[in-house]
């Protein structure tokens, strides 16, 4: 091995030189290829493509249970456009955004895909989504046909990018049998926070021996604390979306609601809820009240407690409020089949397609007036409550990088709920961190 030293020196030198060269090349390439193309200027008015347009497009979704309804929609779509083949690409929720991000970095996003509130501004703000302007101008989609709060959610800087295809609101599911057993009056339309807290604590106390609780907290903002924050008159984000609303006293009240609930033993502890989710407690008959979305109905309907279930509006704080959110179909700005994709987008947003979605029971369709099938899908249960709540629904708080400050919420709020730290302190920290993240957007 005597030769090695001189050899290595030369080899090392050569290697180092080549590494530097490679890095230099990468630098050049990286500088040239910026991922986000500027938003394409669309022609002024959209005109539907000819019925004989032939294309292969991909439609990306994350929910297997909706595929049946989608296929039904597509069948109708193909009656109008027989030569447009649509491939439905289902990606599990946990990986959906990883895949979309990877695709977005190479501008290979699917022609049509589901976008939700929290991710909307990220994609739209970086020029990855095709604006809806031309379609709206041509009159093929009318914005007033859909819930206003959600339509606003999918517009950025005055440009509309999509319309909601469904919506979800949060209501109060409860178990009549448990209320009867505990000797407590069932919820009414005019319940206040105090009514709710008292009922929860009483039920938990009376039925402690059976391990039954009155209500449940949790870490999912959409189904728990966002609602109470809005009901207290507080906010999560300021109007302009630039500062956090967590340092306001009203918001503090909204968070305190859950701390009190857990402290009074009206709810299982945060640890118990992490191990076993609130809906599991409910469908197993161990929870009297479950604040949850309308989407829980299929699970509840199939459970042993189905016959004892009823729905009431959420209790009111300073005012009534509920969180509303819905998914939108958007066209990729980099799509090579824009015409076909837009045709599909328009079709899926039409009254007929939305009615079909509603009838098949997978979601609550967004188009006004198509929700009748949903309201009737659980006889005896007043699902209409979810629809009536539209009147005072507040959209899910979102910003350009929603996930970043969602992470802060998840890290800090559990201590507030469990009482490990004073609520005010936690919220101050949260507001500071959140403002830091928002400033970077």
């Amino acid at each position: 091995m005597r030769k090695s030293s001189s050899v290595t020196r030369t080899k090392r030198g050569r290697f180092a030189a080549s590494v530097v060269g490679v890095i230099g090349t990468i630098a050049l390439l990286a500088a040239c290829s910026s991922g986000g193309g500027a938003g394409t200027t669309t022609s002024d008015e959209y005109t539907p493509p000819s019925k004989s347009l032939s294309a292969n497009i991909t439609y990306a979704v994350w929910d297997q249970t909706q595929v049946k309804a989608i296929d039904a929609n597509l069948k109708e779509f193909n009656k109008e456009y027989p030569k447009i083949k649509v491939n439905v690409d289902v990606t599990p929720w946990g990986d959906y955004w990883t895949k979309r991000q990877t695709e977005a970095s190479s501008n290979t996003l699917p022609d049509l895909f589901w976008l939700n509130g929290p991710n909307f501004q990220l994609y739209a703000g970086n020029g990855k989504v095709e604006p809806l302007t031309s379609v709206v101008k041509g009159g093929y989609i009318t914005l007033s046909d859909y819930p206003k709060a959600l339509v606003e959610m999918y517009s950025l800087n005055g440009t509309q990018y999509g319309v909601p295809k469904d919506f979800d609101t949060i209501g109060l599911w409860y178990n009549k049998a448990i209320f009867a057993e505990a000797g407590v009056e069932v919820p009414t339309d005019s319940w206040t926070w105090d009514d709710f807290q008292t009922a929860a604590a009483t039920i938990s106390k009376n039925l402690a021996s059976k391990g039954i609780y009155g209500a449940a907290g949790g870490m999912d903002g959409q189904t728990t604390y966002y609602n109470t924050i809005f009901q207290a008159g507080g906010s999560v984000l300021s109007e302009d979306g630039k500062t956090s609303g967590y340092d306001s006293p009203a918001t503090e009240k909204g968070i305190q609601f859950w701390t009190d609930l857990i402290a009074s033993k009206g709810s299982p502890t945060m640890q118990q809820l992490t191990d076993t989710a609130a809906d599991q407690w409910f469908v197993s008959g161990k929870l009297a009240m479950y604040i949850g979305g309308d989407w829980a109905r299929s699970e509840i309907a199939a459970s042993p407690i189905a016959k004892d279930v009823q729905v009431a509006p959420l209790p009111a704080g300073e005012k009534q409020a509920t969180v509303i959110h819905g998914v939108s179909n958007v066209v990729a700005a980099s799509s090579k089949n824009k015409q076909a994709a837009q045709a599909l987008q328009v079709f899926l947003a039409s009254k007929a397609a939305q009615q079909q979605q509603g009838d098949m029971g997978a979601v609550i369709p967004a188009f006004n007036g198509t929700q009748s099938a949903f309201a009737k899908s659980m006889p005896g249960v007043d699902l209409q409550v979810f629809l009536d709540e539209l009147a005072y629904a507040v959209p899910l708080p979102i910003s350009k990088n929603t996930a970043a400050w969602n992470a802060f919420e998840a890290a800090l709020l559990p201590d507030a709920f469990s009482g490990a730290r004073p609520v005010a302190d936690v919220l101050k920290d949260l507001a500071t961190q959140m403002n830091g993240a928002l400033a970077k957007e």
Binding site: V7, T8, K11, R12, F15, T58, A60, W62, D63, Q64, T65, N87, V88, D89, V90, T91, P92, W93, G94, D95, T98, K99, Q101, T102, E103, S105, S106, T108, P110, T276, Q280, W281, V283, S284, K286, G293, W295, A296, S298, E299, A302, S303, P304
Partner: protein, 291 residues
């Protein structure tokens, strides 16, 4: 514990006359192995039970240990929801291609790193091994862009490409070759064999046990690989089984029993292969270990 271990770790000579002690110590060995085996297998037993229950039973807060009725139709639902057979085919195809490719590439490279001299051998080996040190998610976007640049999205080529090249496999084969006696090569050289002939005819057959190990690990890794196929395929029938299975887990509504049933169905082929290969490995080891 040492004594039991020692007792068990000792290979009794083949013409042993220790039969007297054998019965007793074997009983303890059996007990220990059985307890361990039970702990290993227990979650699977439960998984099978879950696959035959209803979603409510699975979700119920107090676990149900035996379903009211055996829901065999969960397995049928799997076939309805997924293009099971074409995904099975894709999985098999990917796995076979990868395994064959890795065996070829890694044995050749491993042999060269172990037994051949060339400039920069150690450094190159270190560089190759270093790729094991980076989390696989870090490669995701770069590899995607490369594969997309070649136009390999949604193709078998795109699915297998990065996995054809394994640093682990190279490491494994290198260590296998390193330990072989030099005399064989010397003899071959004297006989005038080219390096390739030496490799092909003499050294490679001796490495069979390690190749079996490489095959098993590659098969398993390929079979269960999830993120890459998920990102590279957008057509359900171009996805392997692992990715197809994952799509059954929705965001708010998960049908657990169906997921469990699908998982059992996906595990079955590999398990069968392992059971079959296992005997081969043992036989192979037994026959080649004593040359």
């Amino acid at each position: 514990m040492t004594s039991t271990a020692a007792r068990a770790g000792v290979r009794r000579p083949s013409n042993s006359r220790a039969g007297r002690a054998r019965g007793g110590s074997h009983a303890i060995v059996h007990i220990i192995l059985a307890i361990g085996g039970l702990l290993m297998a227990f979650p699977f037993v439960w998984q099978i039970i879950m696959s035959l229950s209803t979603n409510t039973e699975v979700r119920s807060v107090v676990p149900t240990f035996w379903p009211a009725e055996l829901q065999w139709q969960n397995y049928a639902v799997v076939f309805e929801r997924l293009p099971f057979l074409s995904q099975l085919w894709t999985s098999t195809l990917i796995t076979v291609i990868r395994t064959v490719a890795q065996i070829i590439l890694c044995t050749m490279a491993g042999y060269a790193f172990a037994r051949m001299r060339f400039f920069g051998r150690t450094a190159l080996l270190a560089v190759v091994l270093s790729i094991l040190l980076v989390p696989s998610q870090a490669y995701l976007i770069s590899q995607y862009q490369i594969v997309q640049g070649f136009g390999w999205l949604n193709t078998v080529l795109g699915l297998v490409a990065p996995g054809l090249f394994s640093a682990f496999g190279t490491f494994l084969m290198r260590t296998a070759f390193v330990n072989m006696p030099a005399e064989l090569e010397e003899a071959a050289r004297i006989d005038g064999a080219s390096p390739f002939q030496t490799f092909w005819l003499i050294m490679l057959p001796l490495a069979k046990p390690s190749i079996s190990v490489l095959a098993i690990t590659t098969v398993l890794f390929s079979w269960n690989e999830l993120l890459w196929p998920l990102v590279v395929s957008t057509y359900a029938n171009m996805m392997p089984l692992s990715a197809g299975l994952a799509t059954l887990a929705g965001d708010v509504t998960v049908n657990y029993p169906v997921l469990m049933a699908a998982s059992m169905l996906a595990m079955a082929p590999v398990l069968i292969i392992f059971i079959a290969l296992q005997r081969r490995v043992i036989d192979g080891l037994a026959s080649s270990g004593l040359k």
